[in-house]
């Protein structure tokens, strides 16, 4: 068995190790992680609602072949000599490998707003950048402002709403999550956040951080004892770049999750597959699983699923599958539901009865069912209205019986029954039926229906005759 070296000790690395163990890997695994990552994963966040069933991945050191060096800082990768250089407890150390897996995480993007960063390059007093939902921000004071429009910003604001004190969500986009959910749905989400006690200030960029407050473009100054930056994250690709690996937005990998160096793999939020950096937990999970299979000698290819977003906060239950653009893909069937009073919303794009893209709000059962069917690439049931509204099973229509008395000709109020009686009385053509009942003599909108009925009855009669003779 060859030696496998994993750089990084975040969720991707933990999952990979766990899956390697599951698939029976018996060689040596060495994990080089920083102190920060270790402490992150051990802190119980009050709002890590999407935190995985992580408990079983924490006891890594229980396997004798796994070495974990948590206090190490990797300084460079040397592909030529297949080794990694690191600072461990202040001393330089070199680790050689047969196979190297890079799992660098993202680092929070700090927006270019005056007053956020000190001259020394640190975040100023009261400013925090949690980076992931799993990080507990240091909250001080009464007034908290969450800055950002993405899932992390909404999750953070939702979690803070329950506490005593003012919570304000500020974003530059028309609504929080509007680029994920579209205008109507993100509008409803905002209403729900407001109802939960979060003040939402949307469409107004922040321009300056002052001690204890935040200034917006329109001149408003908000009290902000703590300012939480949820303004995005960027892949940390410095080491890979310096090692000469192919790096674009992320570290470029193929279907085998292999970088441009055949002995080096990359997974997690920094890996770029097929032009896409697949951020998010579910993508990381899938990549870890696929790579574990590959590294334990199984035939596997990484096939990314469409990006999906699942936000399950105390305030709102939101799901998005695919992108907003996917909702308008040609050749798809659109199904949408808008229930403003109860803040329920759905928009689905289906092809061959399967979900291509979806945005769902306030429909927990539909979110669960549709998410599951989408992951399995299975067809939705034919009663989509029932699925969305959680209607009990109910009968299909029985046209033949139901519409006997419904007017066919609206202008003259002529029912199917009246037409049939006229037909039975000898009006056997459309013209004769029109004469006898006045149907079709108003706007003419029912001409086609009357023709169809006339044709149907004629065929039925012919059939009767043939049966009789």
């Amino acid at each position: 068995m060859s030696d496998i070296l994993i750089v990084g000790n975040g969720l991707a690395a933990q999952r990979l190790v766990e899956r390697m163990r599951h698939h029976g890997y018996a060689g040596t695994l060495t994990v080089l992680g920083s102190e920060l990552e270790t402490s992150c994963r051990q802190s119980a966040s009050p709002f890590s609602t999407v935190t995985p069933h992580a408990s079983d991945t924490l006891g890594l050191s229980s396997l004798p072949t796994i070495h974990i060096h948590v206090a190490s800082t990797v300084t460079s990768i040397d592909p030529e000599h297949r080794r990694v250089l690191a600072q461990v407890s202040g001393a330089e150390a070199a680790y050689s490998y047969d196979t190297l897996v890079l799992t660098p995480e993202t680092r929070p993007l700090i927006p270019d707003i005056p007053g956020l960063v000190s001259a020394e390059g640190h975040l100023t007093e009261g400013v925090v950048a949690p980076g992931t939902a799993a990080t507990l921000p240091r909250i001080t004071g009464n007034a908290v402002v969450v800055l950002g429009e993405g899932p992390l910003a909404v999750e953070t604001a939702s979690a803070l709403a329950a506490r005593r004190g003012e919570t304000t969500l500020v974003c530059a986009t028309p609504q929080p999550l509007s680029t994920h959910l579209g205008e109507t749905c993100s509008g409803m989400l905002s209403e729900q956040l407001e109802q939960a006690g979060v003040t939402v200030i949307a469409g107004k960029p922040a321009v300056r951080r002052l001690p204890g407050s935040l200034c917006l473009e329109d001149g408003t100054t908000l009290p902000a004892d703590t300012l939480i930056l949820c303004t995005g994250a960027a892949p940390d690709t410095r080491l890979a770049r310096e090692a000469g690996l192919d790096v674009r937005n992320g570290i470029v990998v193929n279907d085998q999750l292999r970088t441009s160096d055949p002995r080096i793999h990359a997974i997690g939020d920094c890996a770029e597959h097929d032009g896409q950096v697949m951020a998010g937990l579910s993508a990381t999970w899938e990549q870890a699983e696929t790579l574990a299979e590959i590294l334990t000698g199984r035939a596997a290819d990484y096939r990314p699923r469409p990006a999906s977003l699942r936000l399950r906060t105390a305030v709102a239950d939101v799901s998005a599958i695919g992108s907003l653009a996917d909702l308008h893909q040609p050749g798809t069937r659109l199904i949408s539901l808008t229930d403003r009073a109860n803040r329920r919303y759905a928009r689905l794009a289906l092809r061959d009865e399967r979900v291509v893209a979806a945005v769902l709000l306030g429909l927990p059962q539909a979110i669960a069912t549709i998410g599951l069917l989408h992951r399995r690439m299975e067809r939705l049931p034919s009663d989509r209205l029932g699925l969305l509204l959680e209607l009990p099973p109910r009968p299909a229509s029985d046209n033949a019986a139901a519409d006997e008395k419904t007017p066919i000709c609206l202008c003259n109020n002529v029912s199917k029954q009246t037409l049939l009686h006229a037909w039975q009385a000898g009006s056997l053509t459309v013209t004769a039926l029109a004469e006898a009942t006045r149907a079709t003599t108003g706007c003419g909108g029912c001409s086609q229906s009357v023709e169809e009925l006339c044709g149907l009855w004629t065929r039925e009669t012919r059939y009767e005759w043939e049966k009789a003779s």
């Binding site: 069937r333 659109l334 199904i335 539901l337 509204l389 519409d403 007017p407 003599t441 706007c443």
Partner: protein
């Protein structure tokens, strides 16, 4: 004529679709021949199918479209005076005076004068080359003025405007449609359904300009229509202009007769179409039933039937329905709007099933009961009658399949 029955005279002013329906119905119900009927018609043709008027430019003749069959025209109980508008009525003397100076006595009077096209007062609206679209004469004038290959502008993107645009197309012209609202047919359709319609009519060669008003009609050197300027600054070259910007009730006789008018025009009547004068009724588009005018033929027909029942001493059905369901095929696109589309109380649950711009179905469900309230269909959707029959019930499990088979 039955013994002991005194013949009375019914005067009907107007011979449109609704006036005709009244007379037709009365002839059927009046088995005792108690009524002599005089119809004073402004136009020179007996009643014709105005809803199907556009087919007059698509190969049909005046006689194809007429509603007056041979039995009607030769009925000895009836006098049809064509080209004979009534200019005043003396309610005390119970006589009407025609434009020719003749006096017609009546025992009962029904006003069925219909509507006139509304021409917005934009500069240039009365230039040579401006038309309306309502009568055979209007269409004859349009046909005479049409120049194949040349552009024409229709002001108004409602039902009639699109009919007029199609008429220009059939006459070989290149039609533009200008609609102030953000989408076509704003009265009947939502933006999704209008989108289906828009794509389809654009494919047929119509150029649609929505969300902009007509600022002026501009004359060329010869003093005739040359161009149309829109409020967004666009200038459309145009050899002719057709106004289809709505209709207004022909209620001018109300003033002359001292009868009340509805708040937004129309001759004020109750739900039995009665004016304040017990001998005078108003039906169809000229009538404001409890204050509201109806611009569709179906409600007009119900008014006509109600009055025919009253005139023959039968129990009439009061006119209460505000059902403005429409189903039609417009330039090859099926369109339907049915049931309640603007629920009175609060919100409704809105559900849309659609495929690109090919077909679109929106339904509204009651928030409390989940019952189907109404809907809008456009394009290649399922059977209207089947769907309409579901109104007032919980939608069946195969609703989507019924809407978009």
């Amino acid at each position: 004529m039955g013994e002991g029955i005194v013949t009375r005279t019914l005067l009907v002013i107007g011979h449109g679709m609704v006036g005709h329906r009244l007379v037709d119905q009365l002839r059927a119900l009046d088995t005792d021949h108690a009524w002599r009927i005089v119809i004073a018609a402004e136009e020179h043709y007996p009643a014709y199918d105005r809803v199907g008027l556009s087919s007059y430019l698509d190969g049909k003749s005046k006689s194809d479209l007429t509603l007056a069959g041979a039995g009607f025209l030769t009925d000895p109980r009836m006098d049809l005076l064509l080209g004979c508008p009534v200019v005043s009525v003396d309610r005390t003397a119970r006589t009407a005076q025609t434009a020719h100076g003749d006096r017609i006595s009546y025992d009962a009077l029904v006003l069925a004068t219909g509507s006139r096209p509304f021409v917005p007062p934009v500069p240039g609206h009365d230039l040579t080359g401006c038309f309306v679209y309502r009568t055979f004469d209007d269409l004859d004038a349009l046909r005479a003025a049409a120049r194949p290959g040349r552009p024409g502008v229709v002001v108004g993107g409602g039902l009639l405007g699109l009919e007029a645009a199609n008429a220009l197309r059939l006459l070989g012209m290149r039609p533009h449609v200008v609609e102030t609202a953000p989408h076509l047919m704003p009265t009947q359709l939502d933006s999704g359904a209008a989108h289906v319609l828009d794509r389809h009519v654009t494919e047929l060669g119509l150029r649609v300009h929505c969300g902009t008003a007509t600022a002026s009609i501009d004359a060329g050197a010869n003093g005739e229509v040359r161009a149309v300027t829109l409020s967004d600054g666009t200038v459309l070259e145009a050899d002719l202009v057709v106004f289809s910007a709505g209709i207004r009730p022909r209620d001018e006789l109300a003033d002359a007769m001292g009868l009340e008018r509805g708040e937004r025009g129309g001759i004020a009547v109750d739900d039995l179409c009665r004016t304040a004068d017990e001998r005078v009724w108003a039906i169809g588009e000229c009538a404001a039933v409890n204050g509201r005018c109806y611009g569709l033929v179906a409600p007009g027909y119900r008014m006509a039937e109600s009055v025919a029942h009253q005139l023959t001493g039968q129990k009439p059905e009061p006119f209460t329905s505000t059902d403005t369901s429409t189903t039609l095929k417009l330039l090859g696109v099926k369109i339907a709007a049915f049931g309640a589309l603007r629920p009175d109380h609060g919100h409704a649950v809105e559900v849309v099933f659609a495929e690109g711009t090919d077909r679109y179905a929106k339904i509204l469900l009651s928030e409390d009961s989940g019952d189907l309230l109404g809907g809008i269909l456009a394009g290649d959707t399922g059977s209207w009658t089947a769907i309409r029959s579901l109104v007032g019930h919980r939608p069946p499990a195969d609703l989507e399949q019924l809407l978009l088979p």
